[in-house]
């Protein structure tokens, strides 16, 4: 668009604000029907005490399936664009001081680099992974669940990768392992979504007597998939060589 002058910009924004104003200023009270019904029935019908987990894994589980697919598509798209970037700029123009870890013989001479990054991240990584698994497994009882625990697991895996002094040699193995974890977790989630179709006739219905098994299984698969996917994307961004 052409370059508007500053008063014209502010005037246009003000007009848009006046258009949206009734939406933000309406005085109607928030409806309470959903909360009353859910507070009584959610525990016995789905087996989860956390009502938010009961909603997105029990009543509206199809939305969770769609969100997992959106995450898969966005992460694979980002990784493909990033690999295109790295193929275009193979001449390594970025300066050495931006690198995350140096080789052993350079480390003694480079004054500004210390071992701080490797020491701290290498020690903290396992603790954060443990916390992430705890959040995933207890998603139906306390605040937590699949997506939250998945983000924490992704941070833990990134810490592991950053704190590894032998990162160059092992990066192929790490990437293949994460790829396998992500794909198998997504396939298991799809399987867990489709198997109730043959047992009771509905997709994503809870087929067990004690309903908590299904919720815990779904939480675990989502957490592993999200964690492995996001950390794979971040690792492919950090590495300088292609793929």
């Amino acid at each position: 668009m052409r370059k508007w002058s500053v008063p014209a910009q502010i005037a246009i924004s003000f007009v848009l604000l006046l258009l949206f104003l009734p939406l933000f200023l309406s005085q109607e009270s928030w409806p309470t029907t959903a909360r009353d019904i859910l507070a009584e029935d959610a525990g016995t019908q789905t087996g989860a005490e956390n009502i938010v987990s009961a909603i997105y894994l029990g009543y509206r589980a199809f939305d969770t399936l769609g969100e997992t697919i959106v995450l898969l598509i966005a992460l694979s798209g980002t990784m493909s664009v990033v690999s295109l970037l790295k193929r275009n700029s193979e001449d390594e123009r970025t300066p050495v001081s931006l690198d995350f870890s140096l080789e052993e013989e350079k480390r003694a001479h480079h004054r500004l680099r210390t071992h701080l990054l490797e020491v701290v991240t290498g020690k903290i990584g396992p603790i954060i992974l443990l916390f992430g698994f705890y959040v995933v497994m207890n998603g139906h009882l306390s605040p937590g669940g699949g997506f939250q625990g998945g983000a924490i697991i992704a941070s833990g895996i990134i810490f592991f990768v950053l704190g590894n002094p032998h990162r160059r040699e092992e990066s192929e193995i790490q990437r293949t392992t994460l790829h396998l974890i992500e794909s198998s977790a997504f396939l298991l989630f799809l399987l867990a979504a489709l198997v109730p179709l043959f047992i009771t006739g509905e997709v994503l219905a809870n087929p067990f007597e004690s309903k908590e098994v299904y919720i815990i299984a779904l939480n675990t698969f989502i957490g592993l998939k999200v964690g492995a996917g996001i950390s794979l994307m971040c690792i492919s961004m950090i590495e300088r060589r292609n793929v």
Partner: protein, 113 residues
Amino acid sequence: MTSRLLLLILFFISLHALIFNPSLMKKIFALNILNSAIVLLFITQGASLGSRAPFTTESPDQMVDPVVQALMLTAIVIGVCVTSFSLALVVHLHSRYGSFDYRHIRKELANDG
């Protein structure tokens, strides 16, 4: 009431930056802030129902609305997906044309043919 007005102002600051700021990175910042502002609006409005967190061990009279929180979880995850993909595209554009300014990129595209 005042929280709604403040969030309205936040929404329109970021909408203004999204439309009129020439730099592509600032547009991505503005998308992120827009997403967070809408999530804040919904959650603070849902919290007007009560004063306890939504668990079945609490009394149903004082509980906060749980449907809203489940929807906002999805919104946050999709926001991070959109941000990461758009950042990859902007980095690609910058490495090709050398600038974040969309007018500069448009001129270069017209010259390339």
